[in-house]
């Protein structure tokens, strides 16, 4: 099944997905979209870990991806709770409004 796909293609694909996520974080103001872009970046890294683990025939990379998924699930639960609390207080999730610490 995996015949003749150079690892460089996977590196390139992961880099592109990661950069799409990074640009999303920089270009959007909606906090939930920013959160989703962070998920996209995590997934790009996961894909690369699995590709290298297959390349070296070493299961540790895939176990690491498993732990990354567990941490991402915890992160999303806490993050969305924080966002809903923010929404309850300022009736918006526009991150540019969250600048009270600046002054």
């Amino acid at each position: 099944m995996i015949n003749g796909i150079p690892i460089n293609y996977y590196i390139l694909l992961s880099a592109i997905l990661f950069i799409i996520g990074a640009v999303g974080v920089m270009a959007r103001r909606n906090a939930i979209i920013i959160f989703m872009c962070i998920e996209l970046m995590l997934n790009a890294v996961n894909l690369l870990l699995v590709a290298f683990s297959t390349l070296h025939n070493d299961a540790n990379g895939q176990v690491f991806v498993f732990f990354v998924m567990a941490v991402a699930a915890a992160e999303v639960a806490v993050g969305l709770a924080i966002l809903s609390m923010v929404y309850r207080n300022i009736k918006s999730i526009d991150i540019d409004l969250l600048s009270k610490l600046k002054n």
Binding site: M1, I2, N3, G4, I5, I7, N8, I11, L12, L13, A15, I16, L17, I19, I20, G21, A22, V23, G24, M26, A27, R29, N30, I32, M36, C37, E39, L40, N43, N46, L47, V50, A51, S53, T54, L55, N57, D58, N60, Q62, V63, V65, F66, A70, A72, A73, A74, E75, V76, A77, L80, A81, I82, L83, S84, M85, S92, I93, D94, D96
Partner: protein, 170 residues
Amino acid sequence: MLGYSITQWLFGILSFLAIMFGLMVVFTRNPINSVLYLVLTFFCIAGHYLLLNAQFLAVVHIVVYAGAIMVLFLFVIMLMNLNEDSEPQKAVITKVIAGCIGGVLLFVMVGSLKGAEQLQLQASGASQIGLVKNLGRVLFGEFLFPFEIASVLLLAAMVGAIMLGKKEIK
């Protein structure tokens, strides 16, 4: 077919779809559509895992990401009643700068890849590590302690989410 094997065709199609849906996540204005495009991106990435013969991770990826995390996102968006009209927009100059930074980052990454040696992934028969049996052996042998710690982390996250979600802490 044009000198490419079926795997290479699948890789190309899945990569193209993943990148397209990823771009749609960023550029769609409606947050609900964004979530749905992200789910499609995750399905493409699960397809990549299957191509890499990491079957366990492919299933876990669909169950955890598409099944649990994105549903949570969808719920929160619906509770906040977000739609296209309430969507805040950054200034055009900020978007242009973000695009430029992304382009430069991609340029650096591709440039650093140029000198790397070309390693081909091994034929699938050699790679059995992604199967549940082999992965479970590693997970519950060598990585048993981190696995237990992950359960504590999930418990802490659950308690934290409930504490944050409560109206007021007495």
